[in-house]
Symmetry: C2
Subunit: 379 residues, 2 copies
């Protein structure tokens, strides 16, 4: 198999676990946050910046790369790793979330999804077979099944139809996937917020014996507690010897809560998106650098952070850059935000290995909840 999961340690009091994901482009220490590089670049970040902050795997996007520059071109470049100068593992999203988000621009049939490009309105068809072909051309280490991300809210009837289509499409994906030696296909469990449907979806998806599984259809606007209930119900059904990926989640509180419930992998555009708006994620809550109160604040973004940005730049300078729309400002805050999440996950993992996660969780979740709410975060 292209990707295998090695379980190292489980927390006795919670669902948290530490492991290693073995991939064709190297090992990933889990639990892990994956920075999102939608268009073959994690916005503002050079690959060597990503390595410096300890990114072990990044995510890129089938829908966006299919439209620009086109998967055939990426294939000619030697694949996505070579094209974007990133030699560590890559996971590609299937484009399912993006095409469903197009609203009036798309039409769902049993065959697949017809949609119009958000760039030029040109017509396209994504089917499970086509999406596998595209991801095979991209050459990412982990490829995601073409699923329907069930909208929120959805009726029980719709959520059931939708998850059953996702299962049928997954079978077609598995059939069509041409490069199982070097690329691992992950299935996605759907079912909306209905626990009986999550059970049905999990049973159908897990029966296909894939190298990894994701929980999809969460972080789509539902209250936080609903998401945690779905995780508490679904994750225990998932096998221990396979990685578990919670899609589209990237706030610090949700990472902690997800790990607590047994999740190994997370991704979200949140840290880089809010950075470009001048908002930093810190150990004392969100810092909206643009605020006038920081104009003469000559301290670092996060007083507990030892990243390059916090060691070298002040809030006053970062505010100046953001106020002037200077690219360096977007870059430095993106750098810090990603470091903050990756470092949080390193500490989480260490606490699991040390057998102190339950305590770590308790100490940190309260601190985090004081400073912030949760935001919707999908590309």
């Amino acid at each position: 198999m292209a990707v295998t999961y090695e379980l190292l340690k489980e927390c006795p009091e919670t669902g948290a676990r530490a492991g290693i994901l073995h991939t064709p482009h190297g090992q990933i220490e889990t639990p892990i946050f994956m920075p999102v590089g939608t268009l073959a670049t994690v916005k503002t970040m050079d690959p060597r910046d990503l390595k410096e902050i300890g990114s072990q795997i990044i995510l890129s996007n089938t829908y966006h790369l299919y439209l620009r520059p086109g998967h055939e071109l990426v294939k000619e470049a030697g694949g996505l790793h070579s094209f974007m100068n990133w030699d560590r593992p890559i996971l590609t999203d299937s484009g399912g979330f993006q095409v469903f988000s197009l609203g009036d621009l798309r039409k769902i049939t049993e065959e697949g999804v017809q949609f119009k490009s958000h760039i030029d309105g040109s017509k396209h068809l994504f089917t499970p077979e086509r999406v596998m072909e595209i991801q095979n051309a991209l050459g990412s280490d982990i490829i995601m099944a073409f699923d329907e991300c069930t909208p929120y809210p959805a009726t029980h009837e719709y959520a059931k139809q939708s998850l059953e289509r996702t299962t049928r499409w997954l079978k077609r994906c598995k059939e069509a996937h041409k490069n199982t030696e070097k690329q691992a296909l992950f299935g996605i469990i759907q079912g909306g917020m209905y626990l009986d449907l999550r059970t049905q979806s999990a049973e159908e998806i897990l029966a296909l014996d894939l190298p990894g599984y994701a929980v999809g259809g969460l972080s789509v606007g539902e209250p936080k507690d609903e998401m945690y209930k779905v995780l508490e119900h679904t994750v225990p059904m998932m096998p221990k010897n396979k990685p578990r990926y919670l899609m589209g989640v990237g706030s610090d509180d949700a990472l902690l809560e997800g790990v607590y419930r047994g999740i190994d992998m997370f991704d979200c555009v949140l840290p880089t998106r809010i950075a470009r708006n001048g908002t930093a994620m810190t150990s004392h809550g969100r810092v909206v650098v643009r605020n006038a109160s920081y104009s003469k604040d000559f301290t670092s973004l996060d007083h507990n952070c030892d990243c390059y940005v916090c060691k070298n730049y002040t809030r006053a300078y970062l505010r100046h850059l953001i106020k002037c729309n200077e690219i360096l400002g977007f870059k430095l805050i993106s750098y810090h935000n990603l470091y903050y999440l990756l470092n949080l996950m390193r500490n989480v993992r260490q606490s699991i290995l040390d057998g102190t996660f339950a305590q770590f969780y308790k100490e940190n979740i309260n601190k985090i909840n004081e400073g912030m709410g949760r935001e919707k975060c999908r590309s």
Copy 2:
């Protein structure tokens, strides 16, 4: 004196010379190109990127920093070096060029220039005294006199009045400059394209015995040959034991021609500005990365360049980034363009030290002229 010039070697066949500029923040090997950091950041570039490509000094801008974030704030931050995390030398432009460029928004009197901010229309007055006060607050190693950059074209009468005002203002600048131990005031020779007026200006400015001198009012739209004629006339009047700075020039051909005529220092926004439009400066001419012809070009930007970007990225990838307005694209091309000019100047300097500049000039100026024209380039 805050800044002194040490002449190391002169080219016997041309005016070219190699030297060292000693400043409070370290030595600068001349001739040198100075990247422009208008708003306390060389656009897209982190200071450690600048060090990696060998930037020895950068330029920043009095007008822009006065408006945002304000020189008092920069002073509170410990000065511009500390504010922007750059511990090497900084030269600040006086703002003269910028306020004169405001057109209808400014009014010139003997006292100074009244102008309205390009950001919010607020009213301000720049006088020689005020401009010294601002630059003293910024704490740059080299500060420029408040001059009038005579427009092109100008009548002989206007150019004469203008240069004489520049002289009177320089005297007031010298009088008002409060930090001569740590900041060197450079005078600026004006006179438009009139050689007799250049003589008059040079005599008046040089009589003030300053630590360095600039040739101003060039690269303002005049034909290239006019600029070179003015340099050929003016530079020989300038003292050998002081640095000579040609303001606002940054195309590779003009750097070579300037060095040939005895110039030591250059600055221009050109390399970073055209980078953000997707244009690379290379040893085989300008490469407009956006062009469709590069969509499947998996070679480097400049086949003779060994910079980080050329070693790691293809034209196809850079084109993709630029087409998608990805910040990393602007950054990588800015990085390469600055490297290209700094590396050109390193090679120029070495050839002067080796006694082979005349040959170096001949070989390179033809190659460069094949591939490009010259562009107007001021911030």
